[in-house]
């Protein structure tokens, strides 16, 4: 379900009230405020007999003061994804790009990542109006056999002339830098992504 509404105090209270009244329960949620909009993507479960139209109408009604727009999908009604028979373990990296904003940066990066069969797990980014600089950070799931050094150099070579810096770091490197304990004592590596 996605919810888009005016960002005013009480929106989350109203939304969770509506879910409660419907007998719903959140499974996974991500919320952000983009410009002046409250946005939320969530997965929730509802009692078996609950009609999807009832759910959408009830949330709209409760959240009317915030002008909420609601979209709902039932995974059971969707055509199944093409699943790979044997999923491969992927390494997790964080890619950061920063510099002067110009059109096409994300497009280039996304195409380059798709070329290597790299999945995007998370993307955050913003443009700063004061100096037209941008910053984007994405978490990647990289299949075996991809040379991180080459990937970074390729992206760096593409953007360096435009003053855009690229950093690509393995999750374990970031963990080693972020934890106060020495390496070898903090080696809880994040689970592989399939």
């Amino acid at each position: 379900m996605t919810v888009l509404a005016a960002n005013r105090v009480g929106i989350l209270a109203a939304l969770s009230n509506a879910l409660d009244e419907l007998g719903g329960n959140m499974l996974d949620v991500s919320q952000a405020v983009i410009q002046e909009f409250f946005t939320m993507i969530l997965a929730a479960e509802f009692p078996e007999e609950r009609d999807p139209e009832v759910i959408v109408d009830h949330i709209r009604a409760v959240c009317r003061p915030f002008g909420a727009e609601v979209a709902l999908k039932n995974p059971d009604d969707e055509p199944p994804f093409d699943l790979v028979e044997e999923p491969i373990p992927r390494q997790r990296y964080v890619l950061t790009a920063a510099g002067q904003d110009r059109p096409g940066v994300l497009r280039f990066i996304a195409h380059r990542l798709a070329q290597d069969d790299i999945m995007l797990l998370d993307l955050q980014g913003m443009r700063r109006e004061s100096d037209h600089s941008f910053l984007a950070s994405m978490e990647l799931a990289v299949p075996p056999g991809v040379d991180a050094l080459k990937l970074r150099n390729d992206l760096d070579n593409e953007f360096r002339a435009n003053g855009i810096t690229i950093a690509l770091q393995h999750r374990r490197v970031l963990a080693a830098l972020a934890h106060p304990e020495p390496v070898g004592f903090n080696t809880v590596s994040p689970p592989p992504v399939y």
């Binding site: 952000a32 405020v33 983009i34 410009q35 390494q91 964080v94 950061t96 920063a98 955050q124 980014g125 913003m126 700063r128 910053l135 950070s137 991809v146 040379d147 991180a148 050094l149 080459k150 990937l151 970074r152 810096t165 690229i166 950093a167 690509l168 770091q169 393995h170 374990r172 490197v173 970031l174 080693a176 830098l177 020495p182 390496v183 070898g184 004592f185 080696t187």
Partner: protein
């Protein structure tokens, strides 16, 4: 606003460090290869090295790709050959050196160390044969590095050994005269450094390590330069303690990353993880040199008054950063003023701004001795021995390790240019003052008593 300026500054911390792992060193225990038959000894040394190190290069490549960190050099070190190959004559030992060379070439590593002996108290007949074998062993191999340990604070300095080595050094340079005495650069003379120092050119697997151990070495010059440039861009008048903090942070980050790389390689090879070393070695990037760091700190030229203070500041910050980052930081950190590997230093010798005396002074202020310094080929053996013993006795007095690599370049005089294949820079032969005036002192021989 989903993201604000604090998001910006938090993400900017995720900058890419200009980190290269300078060396991955695999230590292999070959003690049990000892045999009275030369053929059997060489065969078992060769097989041992191949079996333990054959995956080293490919594993380094895999881990380098995984973490996105380039690895510059792969090295092997073995148990000191002096202990494994007892009772052989010099010509036999040359064959042992060639065996090491062959094994190193087979597993595609850049250097192999362990052709070494301890002579700080006295010289055994085997060690004497090994010293005699140096000219042939080093001029007929490419990857083999030799080391001789001549003194410690606790045991004093063996002046006889130094005189013998100075002679061997000169002969080694002569034997390789068509390559400007390059072979002499492969011999390192050590003091206060049990030969087990795993990060030195002539290192070997010292006592107390396991059968197979991986060490990782970082060249910190580029990192520190990067950190200082960024800080100085924000505040050109930043005081020294703030710059020291920047150095410490950069070293912390790179030590953590390099240790991760080293531990991953060790676990893939089934080896122990040994130690991390952060040293100020120049890299192949332009301006990544100690001389460039001094310029950033405000010393316009290496050797100017203040050089020692600046080197001390850098070295202390490096050690503090490394010590907090890792339980395996070896405390080996040193500043390498390698003239032939450092473009800024090489340029300074050409413009005659840097003299031999200034290098000696800098060597005693935080750097680990004279490293790859070219001297006139007609320098007499006694003067070479006196130069070595000066460095050794400073180190012994100050309780710190020292490594000396000097090249008396055959047929060249002070002021001549000299070029080496494989070294990045040309240098100018540095004149030495007072040549030949220490002959009687060196000829006395004997030992310097321990420092109390």
């Amino acid at each position: 606003m989903a993201h604000n300026d604090s998001f910006f500054s938090a993400l900017q911390q995720l900058r890419q460090l200009p980190l290269d792992v300078r060396t991955i060193t695999l230590g292999i225990n070959v003690s049990d290869c000892h045999n009275h038959s030369l053929h059997t000894l060489c065969e078992s040394l060769y097989q041992r090295i191949i079996s333990k190190a054959e995956r080293l290069t490919s594993v380094c490549g895999e881990v380098s790709s995984l973490f996105g960190v380039p690895i510059m050099q792969r090295r092997i070190v073995v148990t000191p050959i002096d202990r494994v190959a007892q009772g052989f004559v010099a010509t036999d030992l040359v064959n042992v050196a060639k065996t090491l060379e062959g094994a190193a070439a087979q597993v595609r590593v850049d250097r192999i160390g362990g052709y070494a002996a301890d002579v700080q108290h006295g010289i055994s007949s085997s060690a004497r044969e090994m010293i005699a074998s140096l000219p042939a062993a080093l001029s007929q191999t490419v990857r083999v590095r030799a080391a001789m340990h001549v003194g410690t604070t606790e045991s004093g300095v063996n002046m006889d050994a130094i005189a013998l080595l100075a002679d061997a050094l000169k002969q080694t340079a002569q034997a390789d005269s068509e390559r400007n005495g390059d072979a002499a650069a492969k011999l390192v003379i050590l003091a206060n450094n049990a030969t087990g120092h795993p990060h030195l050119t002539g290192a070997c697997l010292g006592d107390g390590w396991g059968d197979l151990v991986v060490h990782v070495g970082i060249g910190a010059a580029s990192l520190i330069r990067h950190a200082l440039v960024e800080r100085l861009a924000q505040d050109p008048k930043a005081p020294l303690h703030e710059l020291a903090a920047e150095i410490q942070t950069a070293v912390f980050q790179s030590t953590r990353t390099a240790e991760l790389v080293g531990r991953e390689i060790a676990s893939r090879l089934g080896a122990d993880f040994g130690s991390v070393d952060v040293s100020l070695a120049p890299t192949r990037r332009p301006d990544d040199s100690v001389a460039a760091l001094l310029t950033l700190l405000g010393i316009e030229q290496v050797g100017a008054p203040g050089t020692a203070t600046a080197l001390t500041l850098i070295l202390n910050a490096v050690r503090a950063g490394a010590a907090f980052a890792s339980c395996a930081a070896g405390g080996y950190s040193r500043i390498m003023l390698s003239v032939l590997e450092d473009s800024n230093l090489a340029a300074a010798t050409k413009s005659k701004e840097l003299t031999f005396d200034q290098l000696c002074m800098a060597a005693n202020a935080g750097s680990g001795g004279l490293d790859l310094v070219s001297l006139p080929g007609d320098t007499d053996v006694a003067t070479l021995a006196a130069i070595i013993s000066d460095q050794v006795s400073f180190a012994v007095l100050n309780h710190r390790p020292v490594a000396i690599r000097i090249i008396p370049v055959p047929g060249k005089r002070a002021g001549d240019g000299v070029t080496y294949a494989g070294m990045m820079n040309d240098a100018v032969i540095l004149p030495i003052r007072g040549t030949g005036l220490s002959k009687s002192f060196i000829e006395r021989g004997g030992r310097l008593p321990p420092v109390r």
